[in-house]
């Protein structure tokens, strides 16, 4: 039905891989930061909150440029990681995953934080009086209750990662098979006269994937809501 060329399939698979890796790797840090912001008060809390939300308000190209100068081959963090761990971000899908993860991070943190803030502390206190330690309370009471927020955050982060363009193309440019995601492929195709048909096909695929992600997320959230809140 949808006659996609091998290049287009590569772009689709790459986009899915990058978005998945970005979301999964960002998740533990996202939960930790969300919990910190929801539950703790400390000096610099407003600053952390601001930093977390920066990618949301900065122009994506600026974020991509900042990533380039810090994680690029000659950047302070990039050079350190390359020399000591062999992790390279320049011109590689790992760099694309990093920029997608950074751009999606605020969207991941917000719903989780709101969900944690909405939890009835008395439930956690009750678990404590029954003998559970802090980590056990977190894993068996807090996290499950925050599940709808977690799912919402992950879906938003995944969707943002799937659609990320400005930061990615500034940081790791546009290499077919390595960093050319669906968005970058569509962009390249629209720059070339005669590429409109292929661009149109990819646009349909992008819409289909996004819709599917949203439907699945809605279903999961409702199931989580029923299981844990008895609605």
């Amino acid at each position: 039905m949808l006659d996609l060329s091998p290049d287009e399939w590569i772009a689709i698979r790459l986009s899915l891989k990058i978005a998945l890796v970005a979301t999964v790797v960002a998740l533990p840090l996202g939960i930790a930061v969300a919990w910190l912001l929801a539950r703790k008060n400390f000096w610099g809390k407003a600053l952390l909150d601001g930093l977390v939300h920066m990618p949301l308000v900065l122009p994506p190209v600026v974020t991509g440029y900042l990533l380039l100068i810090s994680f690029g081959r000659r950047g302070p963090i990039g050079a350190f990681l390359a020399d000591h761990f062999g992790i390279v971000f320049s011109f590689r899908w790992t760099g694309a995953a990093l920029s997608c993860g950074v751009m999606g991070f605020p969207l991941l943190v917000r719903p989780i934080r709101l969900a944690i803030e909405a939890i009835d502390r008395k439930l956690e206190d009750a678990a404590a009086t029954l003998g559970a330690d802090r980590l056990w309370i977190f894993l068996t009471v807090t996290l499950p209750l925050a599940m709808p927020g977690l799912i919402a955050g992950m879906v938003l982060c995944f969707a943002k990662a799937l659609g990320e363009f400005g930061a990615t193309i500034t940081f790791v440019s546009n290499i077919p098979g390595e960093t050319q995601t669906i968005s970058a492929a569509i962009y390249t195709l629209t720059q070339v006269p005669g590429g409109d048909a292929a661009a149109g096909r990819l646009v349909l695929v992008a819409i289909a994937i996004s819709l599917a992600a949203l439907v699945v997320a809605e279903w999961l959230a409702r199931r989580a809501g029923t299981r844990f809140h008895g609605e």
Binding site: L68, R74, F91, I169, S173, T188, Q191, V192, P193
Partner: protein, 264 residues
């Protein structure tokens, strides 16, 4: 309440009425729009300044890959003059009735060079048949603009194919959307090698030229210029200025070769 709403709407209408002759006046302000290949940026900016000084007509220049520019013109972008970095995209413009054929002129030429970051350990290389670009790049990437569409990329691919170096080097290529983006990546040290025009290498202090592609290894580099079909009358003066002695001097300072006989 109704009285206040009416007064508010009357104020808005008055505001819009006052604004329209103002915007009309602004539109009539003499300006022409030029779409030119990215590699022309520095030189053409200077030419435009000279033109405005001479004639009082302002020039708004848009620089991008020639392929992107002609695509935008095809979709209705209000350009008056189009300067491409190769003949193919100007031919495309002619085919699709986007330019005035009788105004078309082959304006400039350029040279294709291999560049490296300023502090690179790669020394000068001779680019000749048998040249192994892949080996020179090692495990790094060679960066140039998209070889399928952007002129510099097309010239690069043609040259490497003629020299027998394309097959081995192709997997190592990183492609950007225009030649200046490739230039910047090499200047930043992100890529060990890049293929750009000689004029680009000259304006970027953080790169050095390590080799020049022989002129017969690729189609001749020609920058044609033409008026678009919807060009304003003033645009003809601009095109004439591009062919003048004054413009020639500027282009040649930047390293372009002037192809036409200069007028006055």
């Amino acid at each position: 309440m109704r009285n206040r709403t009416l007064k508010f709407l009357a104020a808005v209408a008055l505001g819009m009425g006052l604004a329209s002759p103002l915007t009309a006046a602004l539109a009539q302000d003499k300006t022409i729009t030029v779409f030119a290949a990215a590699s022309m940026k520095n030189a053409l900016d200077d030419v435009d300044t000279a033109f405005t000084k001479n004639t009082g007509i302002k020039v708004v220049a848009g620089y991008a890959a020639s392929s992107a520019l002609i695509k935008q013109i095809e979709n209705g972008a209000p350009a008056d003059v189009f300067v491409s970095a190769d003949l193919d995209w100007m031919d495309y413009g002619a085919q699709h009735k986007l330019i005035k054929d009788d105004t078309r002129v082959n304006l400039l030429s350029n040279r294709l060079v291999l560049i490296a970051p300023k502090d690179s350990k790669i020394g000068n290389v001779t680019i000749a048949p048998g040249f192994d670009l892949a080996k020179l790049a090692g495990d790094g990437r060679i960066v140039t603009a998209d070889v399928r569409a952007v002129p510099v990329g097309k010239y690069a691919k043609a040259a490497l194919e003629k020299l027998g170096a394309w097959a081995a080097a192709e997997p190592k290529f990183a492609m950007t959307e225009n030649v200046r983006a490739a230039l910047t990546l090499v200047a930043r040290g992100e890529a060990p090698l890049g293929i750009v025009y000689e004029t680009d290498a000259k304006v970027e202090p953080n790169v050095k030229i390590v080799g020049a592609f022989p002129a017969d290894s690729h189609p001749p580099i020609v920058y044609p210029a033409a008026l678009t079909v919807n060009a304003k009358p003033d645009a003809a003066r601009y095109l004439a200025f591009l062919r003048s002695q004054a413009a020639k001097a500027v282009f040649e300072t930047y390293g372009f070769t002037f192809l036409v006989r200069p007028t006055s």
